[in-house]
Each structure stands twice: as structure tokens, then as C-alpha cells.
């Protein structure tokens, strides 16, 4: 150790006192656990207790009531839930089909170009999704790139497809593509080449290799990708607000309305709790099926 000895020495001493109290695992985990306790678990507890609060109140410390949950059942919130669930499910199906060839290419075909191509798919993750979705508005809007282009080339005037339910799914496919692609790529990279080759040598057709060998072996990655896109899809809000033009109110939008416009925090909290239950159960159910250490180490 060099010049800054006294300070470093006291840090060392502090660490070693802590070290005697805790083994290395929990010791290293403690800052992150503290952050998650204050910033994740506590807010969730707050939202759960708010959901049992008196409707339209801003105070948690009172007799709990189920009134908010009753309101949810009696009114038409189930429609927003169904919209969110079906949009999310459709997104998963489309993305699985769209991403499979790309993931296969990244693992088997592109070779040393794979890293650079992966980077092209990573970049959009860092650009605010409303900016990217707004680009699509400029593309699809009347007088925009698509319709303006068609008019200039062929002189045909066409109606814009913006602000319709299919556009919401389109936007979700666009925004969540990397979340399906990367886990899928990880999954496919877990399929050993010699196994697929052995299968073809033994006379399996391309389709059989895909169905009997590739798909089952790549399943952990594909399942995680599907879960990720489904969960993110249920939580999606910007797509419906920007591209859907509020033609459909999804569940997250309902929650936001309850918190902002109608100032009914307990109702918003109750809706959030239901959404959290769906997401939490799904995530933990999928994650508990796989050995994370094994999947992540493969990279």
C-alpha cells in the first residue's frame, strides 16, 4: 500500500469488522438489498396498503376497506385487463416468429459479424421509447413519409392506419423486439452444433431437427424471452397512448388516470396490485423453473 495509507487502513479495518459479522456473500449483497428494500419493497408495501384505503383518500392510516376492489369488479375494468393481456399475448406470438431467424443467424450464420449486428439491436434500448414511437407517427401520418411518398409517386390519396388497435400491437412488437431476441439468442447458443449435425446425419429432416432437437434445447431462452415480452407488454402504456391515439384504454392507462386525472389513489393502487400479482406470479414461476447460473454462464 502507498501514500493514502491511513484512510485505506481504516477502510480495511472497517471492512474486516463487518467481514467477521457477515460471510462474503451477504456482505456484498447488502448495499443492493438495502436499495431494493427502500426503493422497491417499501413502495410496493405502500401501494398494497393504499389499495385498502378509503376511496379518494390520500391517507393510509385508517380502517382497511375492500371498497376499491369492489369498484373494480363492478365496473368495466376487466375490459382494460383483457385488452392488455391480449395485446401482450399477440406481441409474444409475433415476436417469437420474427426473432427466431435473426437469433439463429446471430448464433450460426453471421460469425464474427454477430457482435456488431447485436449492437444494432441493442442501440434502440437506449433511446426513449416515446421518441422511437414518434418516428412511426411521422412515418404513418397523413402527409408523412409513407402516405406523402405514395401520393408523390402514384398520385393516390390514402387514409392513415394510425390510432387503431392493430397499431398498438405494431408499436409493442417494435419496442419489445430486443427483449425477445436476446434471451432467444442465448437459448439457441445453448444448442450444441454436434447434436443438430448428428440428428441430420441420422436422417432427420430440417423440420424434424428444428422440432425435436433445436426447439427443446433452446426452450429456456425462448421461455424467458416470451415471459419478458409478455410482462413488459402488460405494463406497456406509451404504445396505446401515442400510436393507439387513446382509441383503447389499456390497464396501465386506467391506473394512470386513477392516479392523475381522477385523483383516486386507492383505486389506482388496487388496480396496480392486481397487475403486480399477474406479473409477479408469472416472473417467479418462470424463473424458478430454470437454473440462472447455468443460463448466464453460457455466454
Amino acid at each position: 500500500m502507498t501514500g493514502a495509507a491511513p484512510e485505506a487502513a481504516s477502510v480495511t479495518r472497517g471492512l474486516s469488522v463487518l467481514g467477521r459479522l457477515l460471510s462474503p456473500g451477504p456482505r456484498n449483497a447488502s448495499p443492493l438489498l438495502l436499495l431494493l428494500a427502500i426503493g422497491f419493497v417499501a413502495p410496493l408495501v405502500a401501494i398494497v396498503s393504499f389499495s385498502f384505503g378509503e376511496p379518494r383518500s390520500f391517507d393510509v392510516f385508517q380502517a382497511p376497506t375492500l371498497a376499491n376492489y369492489r369498484t373494480i369488479i363492478e365496473e368495466t375494468f376487466y375490459q382494460s385487463f383483457l385488452w392488455s393481456l391480449s395485446f401482450a399475448a399477440l406481441t409474444v406470438v409475433f415476436l417469437a416468429i420474427i426473432c427466431y431467424p435473426v437469433a439463429y443467424g446471430l448464433v450460426r450464420v453471421f460469425g464474427r459479424w454477430s457482435n456488431l449486428i447485436t449492437l444494432f439491436f441493442v442501440l434502440p434500448l437506449f433511446i426513449s421509447e416515446n421518441v422511437r414511437l414518434y418516428g412511426w407517427i411521422l412515418f404513418f401520418i397523413k402527409g408523412g413519409v409513407l402516405l406523402g411518398g405514395i401520393k408523390a409517386l402514384f398520385g393516390v390519396d390514402m387514409e392513415s392506419v394510425l390510432f387503431t388497435p392493430p397499431m398498438i400491437v405494431f408499436g409493442m412488437i417494435y419496442v419489445y423486439l430486443p427483449f425477445m431476441l436476446f434471451p432467444m439468442t442465448l437459448g439457441l447458443s445453448m444448442v450444441p452444433t454436434d447434436v443438430t449435425e448428428a440428428a441430420s446425419d441420422l436422417g432427420a429432416s430440417r423440420w424434424q431437427v428444428f422440432r425435436e432437437v433445436e426447439l427443446p434445447l433452446a426452450m429456456p431462452g425462448i421461455t424467458i424471452g416470451a415471459m419478458l415480452t409478455f410482462v413488459l407488454g402488460i405494463g406497456a402504456i406509451t404504445e396505446a397512448k401515442v400510436l393507439g391515439g387513446q382509441s383503447i384504454i389499456v390497464i396501465t392507462h386506467d391506473i394512470e388516470i386513477a392516479f392523475t386525472y381522477s385523483q383516486n389513489w386507492p383505486l389506482g393502487a388496487a388496480l396496480s396490485v392486481l397487475l403486480m400479482l399477474v406479473v409477479g406470479v408469472l416472473v417467479l414461476a418462470v424463473l424458478s423453473r430454470f437454473d440462472l447460473d447455468r443460463i448466464l454462464r453460457r455466454r
Binding site: 500500500m1 485505506a8 480495511t12 471492512l15 474486516s16 460471510s23 462474503p24 456482505r27 456484498n28 449483497a29 448495499p31 443492493l32 436499495l35 431494493l36 426503493g39 422497491f40 417499501a42 413502495p43 405502500a46 401501494i47 431467424p101 435473426v102 450464420v109 453471421f110 449492437l119 439491436f121 434500448l125 437506449f126 433511446i127 426513449s128 421509447e129 421518441v131 418516428g135 411521422l138 412515418f139 402527409g143 408523412g144 413519409v145 402516405l147 406523402g148 411518398g149 417494435y174 423486439l177 441430420s200 415471459m227 402504456i237 406509451t238 396501465t252 394512470e256 392516479f259 389506482g268 393502487a269 396496480s272 397487475l275 409477479g280 417467479l284 424463473l287 424458478s288 448466464l296 454462464r297
Partner: protein, 267 residues
Amino acid sequence: MTDRGKRTTNSLIVAWTAAIIVFIYLPAVCGLLASLTGSRYFLFPIQKWSLVWWGKTFASLEIRSLLDTSITIALIVTTVSVVIAFFGALAFARYNWRGRKLYQRLVLLPIFFPQSVLGLALLLWFNTLGMELSWKTAVLAHLVWITPVVTLVISIQVYSFDPALEEAAEDLGANRWQVLREVTLPVLWPGIFSGALFAFLLSWGNFPLSLFTTGADSTVPEYLYAKMVAGYTPGVPVMGTVSTIGAAILLLGGYGLISLVRRRRGH
């Protein structure tokens, strides 16, 4: 499968991937086009090309203060999240301890959690605590979501780290602080660097968490959203293009740096 069949499949895959990349970058191109229009509203094909909106946007004081807020938040989030995530990743991937499986799942849960709901939950929580909302509360909100992501990124590097290196240094008489500085940090450097890059960019681009937690302050994505909903000016695509290009430069530059260092080290 025959060689010819394989070659056809491969070229189809290349074509498909190229089409998807075009699909991904098409909106950014539309934004660039819209920012280069001279008129107040975007009409395609563009009649009058001009850089006038770029000039106006950069001269605006409002935009400067937005950039200030966004960059301050992103820098603080990057620093704090990387420090916490570094230790978090060691606990995630390096050490075997009771409760690790549970810890791993707890760390992953915020990443998968709907961000708008997390933002609202934090709003409610800050309100319960009586905290005043500002960019500082937004820093905490970003940390809750970004630190787990960074932990995951660094963990991937930690998995390929050989613990024997640390033990060897200890056997040679290094204390814990020296081991950390001379062995662990240099070996994990690429993972830490990518983690920092992720943290900065994710904070920079975040909208749903900022929306509910910045209070009276405003970040670039929030401003853009407000302008998109009401009050479009070509300044919106200008700022959109700026953040796209900025992210691209950071990401490609960072990637270039990592591969350069790797090559130097002879991997």
C-alpha cells in the same frame, strides 16, 4: 441437408435480418427527415430543406436546462449504481451463500416490473414519506430499476472470473483492499465499463420513471412527450435525433474501446 439448401437458408436469414434492422431504424430516419424541414409542420416529400430548427433548438435556454437535468441525473445514477452493482454482482455470481437463489430472483424482479407502475408506487411512497419531488427523487427511482440491470451485466463478467486469482494474491500476502484494487477490479473492468455505459444510457432515455418522480423538474424524454401530445414543433424530432445520435456515439465508442483494450491484452 444439402449445401445448396443451406446456402439458400442462410441468405434468406441474412435478408430477413437486414429487413428487421431497416425496420428498427426507419423511425429514426423519419425523425431525422422531420428535423430537416424548414416549415413549421412536417410534410413529405420535403419542399424546403433547412437547418433552422436545429439552430433554434440549441439556442433555447429551456433545452439547455433540460439537458442539464438529464445529464446530472444520468451521471449520479451511473456512479452510484456501478458501485452498488459491483458488490451486488459478486454476491450474485462469485460467492456461494445461503439465500443466493432468492437474492438472484429479488434482483431480477424490478427489471421485469412494469416501469409505469413502479414509478407510481414510488410516487406514492415518496408522498407517504413527505418527500418533495424533484430530480433527486428521480435519481432514486432510476437507481431502483437500473442498479439490478447493471448487476446483471457485471455478473456475466463475474461468472467468467477465476476465484483462484484472488486466493493466489491473498496467499502472496495481499490484504483485502489490495486484492480488490490489484486483482478483482482490473479483471472485471470490461463488465464494469459496459455496466456504466448501460446505466448512463438507460437513465438518459428513461421516461416512465421520470414522469412520476421528477416533480417540477423535467428531463429530455418528459419534455419530448409533453410536446408530442400537445404543441408539436420541429424541435421534437431535432431533440429525438440528438438523443439517438448521442446514444449511438456512446455505445459504438464504448464498444470500440473495449475491443481495443481486449486486443491489446491479447485475448
